[in-house]
């Protein structure tokens, strides 16, 4: 036996196997300081590629966390890169979601080319997300078009597999939202469907095979899974809203259309304290396994980190009985809120419910957090149930709530009962559904057709009983009358004047003369004068990721910025002023703030989404209160007891 053969044999003996003697999942260390890391891939040599959605770049590290380089583009820069893949020969493919394209970098990190573009035809994308690259093929989760597309390495389209065509037979799959893909050894593929919470088996000839999994909290079920990886015979799924990685054994991986999956083990438990790490997981968005199976990387965008896990002895991690969750996932506040009169409504994303709070104070002289008095909705497809509830409008006088369901492409109208002079009391029968409009159905936009069904992300009721609906897919605002007949639309996709890219919120002035739209894809607001539909750009200098919008009592439009963690206000002359916020957990801190609204008493409530809390400011932007889980509110409410090191990993 030659020396070379001996060395090779020694090397092979070190390659971990999936024979049950070891398992992946032992925490080794974390890479911090990343800006919303949304996807991770591990290339040849164990180089960890992290797509930083908020920074528009891909950062490369070695297994010890040493920075090796950055992948970026200039014109245009990467905008919300949501997927990264490394082919066996070292090419890097980046899903540049905000620019609806795939960018190719060569093995030296140099820009090599791009393909795609916004559209629905073969080879085009709408918000591509997960991506995988094999020796000859690239698979892309074309999430906005609800399909998976396959390309060669030069970007030539090979096949397209729509995933929502089963809708008529299996309505639960009508709202497919593919967020990640993987090629398997046989050359077929897998798609992770965050919409129906399942894994879809793909064949090479456009066949769509069986689906595995469903929504739930128990082993083998998922809550909005977003990313996955495979190694040898195992699949590793980032079960995002269950805060864990689920590992499955695939019995016949090489024949994907007949594959069966058997749960192997679960690693990671939900982080309870803010920023808690060391193997605790918090909204894990993606997972990658090194080609030799020796380690894995897990991306957690809200905590700005990637955790590295290595192998440990045994077939599965030891279960920490005190920390393992067997029931419903812990509840967090969602991104959006609405308030009017004495009520506040907040979305709870894990359960797709609306949490209805009473803002009144049992003891007027004392502040108290909003009191939960009812829950409405839940995950489902019928009227009054949602897949991905988004923006809302609350009209207390009319006793009406409008709710966007981005996942099902619907807007729901609810009615409620509430006595402003009655006692504060729970009433779980206070809400009932009135009607909904389903934008997938013909005629939803009258005679006008759009490239994609309306994807409602924000809504506002108008004085005449109609509504304005912000459409994320078509990048425009639709106007409906009180009978919900389509009356026209405003805006289109692009970066010019009057154009929008990935809009997320709208706000109509009280006199209904001006409409503001937050336009994070272009890092600005647009203001339309509704008299002549003339648009104006607002906040281009100050804003990077504008999200929630609301008019303050002083007439200024306030806006949260999810990228800079700040709140700004713009007066009628469109002069901007910083109002509140910097990245952090203590008083004055925000982390990726989203929805924002003013109460009737002039207080501003901000959904401090990354910190899982609500922040209350006075009309000048001064901190008044925080509500939500105590571990997250305590640093703001009792800053003298807050020590940064207590919250460090």
């Amino acid at each position: 036996m030659s020396l070379m053969t001996l060395l090779l044999a020694l090397l092979l003996s070190q390659v971990p196997t999936e024979d049950g003697s070891t398992h992946l999942g032992a925490w080794k260390h974390s890479i911090h300081g990343l800006v919303q890391p949304g996807a991770v891939a591990i290339g040849p040599g164990g180089r960890i590629h992290v797509a930083e959605v908020g920074a528009g770049r891909v950062s490369i590290f070695d297994v010890d966390g040493n920075a090796l380089g950055v992948l970026e583009t200039v014109d245009p820069p990467l905008r919300a890169p949501e997927g990264i893949a490394v082919s066996p020969d070292g090419l890097r493919f980046v899903s540049d979601s905000g620019n609806h394209r795939v960018v190719i970098f060569d093995a030296d990190g140099q820009f090599k080319g791009e393909f795609g573009g916004r559209g629905w035809r073969a080879g085009q994308f709408l918000r591509p997300m997960g991506i995988d690259a094999g020796e000859h093929r690239v698979l892309v989760a074309d999430s906005g078009n609800q399909r998976v597309q396959s390309f060669d390495h030069a970007g030539k389209p090979l096949s397209s597999q729509p995933l929502h065509t089963l809708s008529s037979e299996q309505p639960e799959y009508r709202d497919t939202w593919p967020t990640d893909v993987a090629l398997n050894p046989s050359g077929d593929g897998w798609a992770l469907d965050s919409g129906s919470c399942g894994l879809i088996v793909l064949g090479q000839e456009g066949l769509v095979g069986p689906r595995h999994g469903e929504f739930g909290f128990f082993p083998g079920t998922f809550a909005s899974p977003r990313g996955f990886a495979h190694h040898a015979s195992r699949l590793y799924i980032a079960d995002t809203e269950n805060h864990r990685i689920q590992v499955f054994e695939s019995r016949d991986f090489g024949h994907s259309l007949t594959t069966t999956l058997k749960p192997a083990y679960i690693w990671g438990v939900h982080a309870n304290r803010p920023r808690e790490g060391r193997g605790k997981l918090h909204y894990p968005r993606d997972v990658a396994v090194a080609p030799d199976g020796s380690f894995a990387a897990v991306a957690e965008p809200l905590d700005g980190r990637v955790q590295i896990f290595v192998r440990a002895a045994g077939s599965a991690p030891q279960v920490d009985a005190q920390r393992a969750t067997t029931g419903q996932a812990a509840v967090h506040f969602g991104m959006e809120l609405a308030t009017d009169g004495p009520l506040l409504v907040i979305v709870e994303p894990e359960t797709a419910q609306l949490l209805i709070h009473d803002l009144r104070r049992p003891e007027p002289e004392r502040r108290n957090p909003p009191l939960l008095i009812s829950k409405a909705g839940g995950r489902g497809l019928s009227l009054g149930h949602y897949r991905r509830p988004a923006g809302m409008d609350l009209d207390y006088d009319a006793r009406r709530i409008l709710v966007c369901d981005r996942g099902s492409r619907r807007v729901h109208e609810l009615r409620f009962r509430h006595d402003p002079d009655g006692e504060i009391a729970q009433d779980f029968e206070m809400v009932s559904a009135v009607r909904m409009i389903d934008f997938r159905r013909p005629g939803a936009t009258g005679e006008t057709s759009f490239p994609w069904p309306v994807e409602p992300i924000a809504v506002q009721r108008t004085a005449d009983g109609g509504m304005l609906v912000l459409d994320a897919a078509n990048a425009c605002v639709h106007r409906f009358d009180s009978r919900w007949a389509h009356q026209g639309s405003l805006g289109e996709y692009g970066s010019g004047l009057g154009q929008l890219n990935a809009p997320v919120d709208l706000e109509l002035s009280v006199d209904e003369t001006h409409l503001f739209v937050s336009d994070p894809g272009n890092g600005r607001l647009l203001r339309w004068s509704l008299a002549d539909e003339a648009p104006t750009v607002v906040g281009e200098e100050q804003l990077r990721g504008p999200h929630g919008l609301a008019f303050g009592p002083d007439g200024r439009i306030w806006v949260s910025d999810a990228v800079t963690h700040q709140v700004w206000a713009f007066d009628s002359e469109l002069n901007g002023q910083w109002v509140f916020g910097e990245e952090g957990l203590a008083r004055g801190g925000l982390l990726a703030p989203r929805g924002l609204a003013f109460t009737d008493t002039g207080e501003c409530i901000i959904m401090d989404h990354g910190n899982h809390r609500g922040i209350v400011l006075d009309s000048q932007g001064n901190f008044l209160d925080a509500f939500g889980p105590r571990s997250y509110t305590r640093p703001a409410l009792r800053p003298e007891r807050y020590r940064e090191e207590d919250y460090d990993e």
Partner: protein
């Protein structure tokens, strides 16, 4: 299926087919309501009054465009019973059979728990689904 069971099923089927169709107009004691957005009018009568606890029953719906309006035929209907306070519905789904002239037979209600239930009638016309609902007390 045994021979006697098959004979029984056949006889029942023949008997059902031989029965004359009942009058399609709603009885005077049918409960009525306008839908929540006012888009249609519905009357409802359960096969057992009052609807029983944990025992299957059927019901009949009469749909029209308004109080004295035209009957709504070929409706795309979804019918369910739920307990809003407990955040759950029935443990089974109902079957809906159109009988003509805006009359729909709904079979297979089973309210398994005492308390306040809500009968939900969802009518889809074009892109819009609208709900009418009746409170039901199960004791």
């Amino acid at each position: 299926m045994s021979r006697s069971a098959r004979w029984l099923a056949t006889t029942l089927t023949l008997l059902l087919c031989a029965c004359p169709k009942s009058d399609s107009s709603p009885p005077s004691d049918a409960r009525a309501t306008l839908s929540q957005a006012g888009g249609f009018y519905v009357r409802w009568k359960p096969s057992i009054e009052p609807p029983p606890l944990n025992k299957a029953f059927d019901g009949t719906l009469w749909l029209s465009t308004r109080v004295e309006g035209e009957p709504i035929e070929l409706a795309q209907l979804d019918v369910d019973c739920r307990m809003p306070a407990h955040r759950h519905g029935m443990l089974q789904e109902v079957d809906i059979i159109e009988e003509g002239a805006g009359r729909y037979s709904v079979r297979g209600f089973l309210c398994h728990m005492a308390g306040n239930w809500v009968l939900q009638v969802d009518l889809t016309q074009g892109a819009i689904t609208e709900r009418a609902q009746f409170d039901i007390l199960i004791e």
